[in-house]
Symmetry: C2
Subunit: 339 residues, 2 copies
């Protein structure tokens, strides 16, 4: 059996996680890597990902790399926004490679970016390749797992999903990203400039609505600071009572003035009960909790790499998680999953 | 758009639930029904299902019905065992209809009945139809939802699934089926004669193992009585302390002498904390609970009827839940889901 040949496109923190997990999968080998960061160009992909050298240098000439190596699959992790990554995706598809991307807006692009979605789908079909955007969120806990849970329902009146995370043990950049340690005014300024924001809620809501066949009137988003009730500290930061411990972001898919789908993400220092929660007001009702939550970085890499066989065996086109077979881990030689 | 034409094959208690839910779906209509029960032949399908008359008589001549009506989809619910329903499935497929069946052994037949599975798959491909066995269990909570949950894992060491049900509010036949009110000796006699037994554990375990790419050494099943610690009562039955309150059934998929996959089903009177629980010892670990559990009868009908669009749009062949796209409810005209 021929090895599945992979290229890593984007070797930032998420790309590094993808590489580390993918190196453990049997039957897949990296044949190249691309990044534009001058500090990474020429470096070995394994070393850049924080593991052993694998003899694959990182290049900034992605076009040449793709033309030369003609990979089967490209793991793409360069950005959250479609407008910014669109030309990269088109370039990769032109080389004939399937793509799994962590671009949040790609996870369900049909609502916010129908023109780009159409162009990407057309390019995928023309090049006979499959394009998927996924990750843990968007991609799994607040959309795919929610839709799956409705599989046992005869009626669904409304859906409430909560992701409650304790940021105390995350890296400093994450703690800063959620505004920990800021004053409420500083937090609101960062929200206004767009630097405190989870990207992907409208995509998750639109995927759920599409799966259920619901027409939403609108989607609304709101970002609030989660204030510390008493002083809390992490390894890196101390937050006094009344200051910002983290973020509390909500998005609602609204029908007739009511929240039909409500997603809430809280990530803050000192969270006492981290969890994922899916509440379906339906027949039967569903009250699902994942105690402790799902580890974000590990899970994103898992969802992306675990999707590879489903993407390789899919019909061509721009797909979303709900179009592909049931997601699952796989722990044998990859060819066992390519029939 | 043409209406999806359905036949109900088997109008027992489960069939009745399928009919009741299916009648609510837009774009699907029943064009016939078959059952061998003399008390049902000639009766109206809607009335037999406990709702309004729909002008569809139940016949015992399934062959003629299928030849005459040429349905798009048959909802099949006549039995748990493949050997008993095989010829029915072949007859239906010959008529060119796709099938969703509640036959427990059909949910993943490749391990226990590879020859029948092969014959059914061949017949499905020859007739260009799709055949799926599903339900809430097997079909969803102890297999499909488990596999889905592993989608966020980079490693899975072992999986423990528990379905803990309070039988107090179920129908009398169900309470009898789980042995409530028997002495421990009477219970063991019924286990020995095969009348107390959930069918589907080996299928659920085999589906999980196949999805993960695990090779199991063997699958073991064990059925124990759940004894009442104090006297408990339902609307129908009183159980004294020390008598049987219900069933405690376990199945293990074993690798190197260890339980790699352990499924446990408890259904008994007076259960204090009904729930579904999926514990994955993995990286990351997953500790998922559905509080209160998933209502069995409603959910089986939901899973079966919700599968119709995925079956109608699938490639031909014998499929299992893990082969089809992510399950979900759908609540608009069926043609919205048939692209």
């Amino acid at each position: 059996m021929k090895t599945v040949r992979a290229v890593q496109y984007g070797v930032g923190p998420i790309g590094a996680e993808l590489v580390k997990y993918c190196l453990k999968k049997r039957g897949i080998e990296f044949v190249g890597a691309a990044d534009i960061d001058p500090n990474k160009i020429g470096k070995d992909l394994g070393e850049a990902a924080g593991v052993e050298k694998i003899g694959v240098p990182i290049t900034n000439d992605s076009k040449k790399l793709l033309t030369k190596t003609k990979p089967d699959i490209v793991l793409h992790s360069t950005g959250s926004y479609l407008e910014a990554v669109k030309s990269q995706l088109l370039e990769i598809m032109k080389s004939g490679a399937d793509i799994v991307s962590t671009c949040e807006e790609l996870s369900y692009p049909f609502l916010k970016s129908p023109a780009i979605a159409k162009a990407l789908d057309r390019a995928a079909r023309r090049n006979k390749v499959t394009l998927l955007g996924t990750g843990v969120n968007p991609g799994f806990v607040m959309d795919t797992l929610v839709l799956t849970s409705t599989g046992v329902c005869q009626e669904v009146k409304s859906i409430k999903v909560r992701r409650i995370q304790d940021a105390s043990y995350r890296r400093l950049p994450f703690q800063k990203k959620i505004g920990a340690g800021l004053t409420p005014d500083e937090f609101r300024a960062k929200v206004a400039e767009g630097t405190i924001k989870h990207v992907g809620f409208p995509e998750s809501i639109a995927m759920i609505a599409s799966g259920l066949g619901w027409k939403l009137d609108k989607i609304e988003e709101r970002i609030e600071p989660k204030l510390a009730e008493k002083s809390v500290a992490s390894q890196y930061l101390k937050v006094e009572a009344g200051q910002v411990a983290g973020v509390d972001q909500t998005a609602s898919g609204i029908v007739n003035g009511e929240d039909a789908i409500a997603l809430n993400l809280q990530a803050y220092l000192g969270c006492p009960d981290p969890r994922e929660s899916i509440i379906i007001d339906g027949r039967p009702p569903i009250d699902l909790t994942i105690k402790g939550g799902v580890h974000g970085d590990l899970a994103t890499a898992a969802v992306v790499v675990n999707s590879i066989p489903r993407v390789l065996t899919s019909d061509p086109g721009l797909k979303t998680m709900k179009d592909l077979p049931v997601p699952s881990g796989w722990f044998a030689e990859v060819h066992n999953f390519l029939h």
